[in-house]
Symmetry: C2
Subunit: 412 residues, 2 copies
């Protein structure tokens, strides 16, 4: 089940010059299923990424971080990305690292580049060794069908418990140049800030200097992939990668460049769109909730409150039931960890309905008004803390019977 999330249309996913994608059915998890994706970048492209903060960071994440660090230290640029589903290659120790490196070795050999120029990614079950021979056996087929207009197939190839592929494309004008950007994402349960079993890949045809792209990917991630949560679990494999192929007319060589902000905002916008698709396809999700916390002292405390609400199983089941049991939201705000919170200054809105005022029930609030909003598939929870001028927004979904079913049966 997915909340108001139309399938991306293959024809609307615009190719990005200098970026090609090829897939294969490597039989890693099940037969007859796309489970391997290779992406290649033209010479001169720059690549930046953000990765999970989980201490059980998976083997491919360790290798990808090391290979990006090698570029920063003056090594050859990244020229290819390889993604497999079906196995996360996480908590697999030294054999896991060897398997991730073997994947890079073989992809590099087939593409005629160095192994350090390949970034590997995996998603799927944890604690089981990657069937690396299947990955290696699948690479030639994936490389044979590399094409610039393979985005829709690529979106399908990286799905795990996703019920639908996730992709977005945008053409805009910045500084007099046409800029095209297209991306894909995956992830359903286990999505949370600092990322989860979540993968996102975005290609843009602008030329973006490495330090600028490093800053840009962090900025966009904080306002997109790091601001979504389904169940609070952060995975071992999450990665969000932005590649700038440099094939278009726009070139941004510093953060002071007059076109930087426009490019940053466009990238943030499409990243948010890719991230929100994950929530709309959240495991068992029937509602899409925007949690907006305003009037905090700083962004950090606003995020604390937003996540306390977004992670509360009691709040999430109440939304599933369309039950305006709004006291559960107040309780979550109360335990969010703001020790000096003055609840008598706090207001709570559900869409446009003022539910609680000055920390208590709004005398004018009528149950039927709350009920009307709760029946919607998209709901905004708005908290005014009355302490300052900072704000933060988090997106999440409800907790349904289907969430339990999907996660209880995932490996069966």
């Amino acid at each position: 089940m997915a909340v108001n999330s139309p399938l991306p249309v293959a024809a609307e996913l615009k190719p990005v010059n200098g970026f090609e994608l090829g897939f294969a059915e490597a039989g890693i998890k099940k037969p007859n299923r796309k489970d391997l994706l290779v992406m290649t970048l033209a010479e001169g492209a720059t690549v930046a990424g953000v990765f999970t903060t989980n201490r059980f960071c998976a083997a491919p994440v360790q290798v990808s971080k090391a290979n990006l660090a090698a570029v920063a230290a003056g090594g050859k640029p990244i020229r290819a990305l390889v993604v497999n589903t079906g196995n996360a290659n996480a908590a697999t120790g030294e054999p896991g690292l060897a398997n991730a490196r073997a994947t890079c070795d073989e992809a590099a050999r087939l593409l005629g580049i160095d192994a350090q120029q390949v970034l590997p990614f995996s998603t799927g079950v944890i604690l089981e060794q990657l069937p690396v021979q299947k990955v290696i056996a699948g690479l030639p087929a994936a490389i044979a069908n590399l094409k610039a207009d393979n985005w829709f197939n690529a979106a399908e190839a990286i799905m795990t418990t996703d019920t639908q592929p996730k992709a977005a494309s945008l053409t805009t004008h910045i500084g007099g140049h046409e800029v095209t950007m297209t991306g894909i994402s995956k992830g359903a349960g286990m999505i949370k800030p600092n990322m989860a079993t979540m993968l996102g890949y975005l290609a843009i045809d602008a030329k973006v200097a490495q330090p600028v792209l490093d800053e840009l990917v962090r900025y966009a991630a904080d306002r997109s992939f790091n601001a979504i949560t389904i169940d609070g679990d952060t995975s071992t494999n999450d990665s969000f990668i932005v590649a700038a192929t440099g094939t278009g007319g726009l070139a941004v060589d510093s953060l002071d460049h007059p076109d930087y902000e426009a490019l940053r905002d466009a990238v943030t916008g499409i990243s948010r769109h890719l991230a929100q698709q994950i929530i709309r396809d959240g495991e068992g999700a029937t509602k899409f909730m925007t949690i907006s916390v305003e009037q905090g002292r700083d962004m950090a405390e606003c995020r604390k409150v937003a996540y306390a609400i977004a992670h509360s199983p009691l709040v999430k089941t109440a939304f599933f039931a369309s039950d305006p049991n709004l006291g559960r939201i107040l309780a979550a705000i109360g335990y969010a960890g703001i020790d000096d919170l003055d609840t008598s200054k706090l207001d709570l809105y559900l869409d446009d309905v003022l539910v609680a005022r000055a920390g208590g029930r709004n005398p004018d609030y009528r149950e039927e008004d709350g009920q009307r909003v709760m029946k919607n598939a998209e709901i905004v929870v708005r908290v005014l803390l009355g302490r300052g001028g900072a704000e933060a927004t988090v997106w999440t979904c409800d907790l349904s019977h289907d969430y339990v079913s999907i996660n209880a049966d995932y490996r069966s």
Copy 2:
């Protein structure tokens, strides 16, 4: 559904001299249901409590804390406790406080004591005003049936979403004296450290000086009610109260008293028993899980890891499914927030089965061994961090379809 939790037997709940209990059907939530409880204490009794840290601390909690503070400041001792179910009187502002005080006023008038000598408690729906006239109308009936052997009825009277009453009783010998202690508890969902919609009341017939009892209740709570969690939500109303009637032979007047430790350990043991009954009756629970984290640098980081595991919806659904998807436990350890955790020193056991060794899959681990343990109704998850000598234990339950059903339908 409850996990291996036999009903307490009324005849085995021993009266505690100097402590009486009376109940009524006050019609606060539904007709024909015990929903009001009055407990009275003999002259000379001492009372101490720990309360929720939720910033939306309910009106009765505010009044109870103020009345205990008045005793500490030299006021008259506490002589009565009043508990209603059906309405939490939380996030109800000034009218809520007035209603909590009106409850004390009327109980005091009927019992011939001062209003400050009464502690009020409420549990139920948040954000709705307490129907205080029903509480007041029910008090005479509750007071009329005050009896020392009403513990089982009292346990039933404080139930909300509980499927069964919770109570425990113990007679032991300390320092040559027979000591009797009997307690009741309630709470199902919304249980977490620093407490939840959880109420616990324990009476002991020893004479315990106020400062000793204050320390004792904190010590016992940290190792019982503050070490259980069902869904991570902390409520507005949680309270754990210990009353020492002073009617027995044992008297402990300081923390240096030779019998203090034995008394402390007995109280901690029965408190743990009362707390664990809440987990066994957790909303929709089918499994009872003990999460034991050892070899940490300090107790705080051990608790962080234990709670990350205990709160992970992915871990909890895997236990519900009896699926040894143990990577989910490693992932939860990885995001628990220990920034310098060296995962290569970490071992993970499921009961006696060594699942992960040195941060990776134990080469000798066989899926059928994990499967065997996961089918049990009681499971111990044991994490060895390899960093030090501290440890912490937390008790929790799985996440089932019934959890969603119960919490989606709670108010209907």
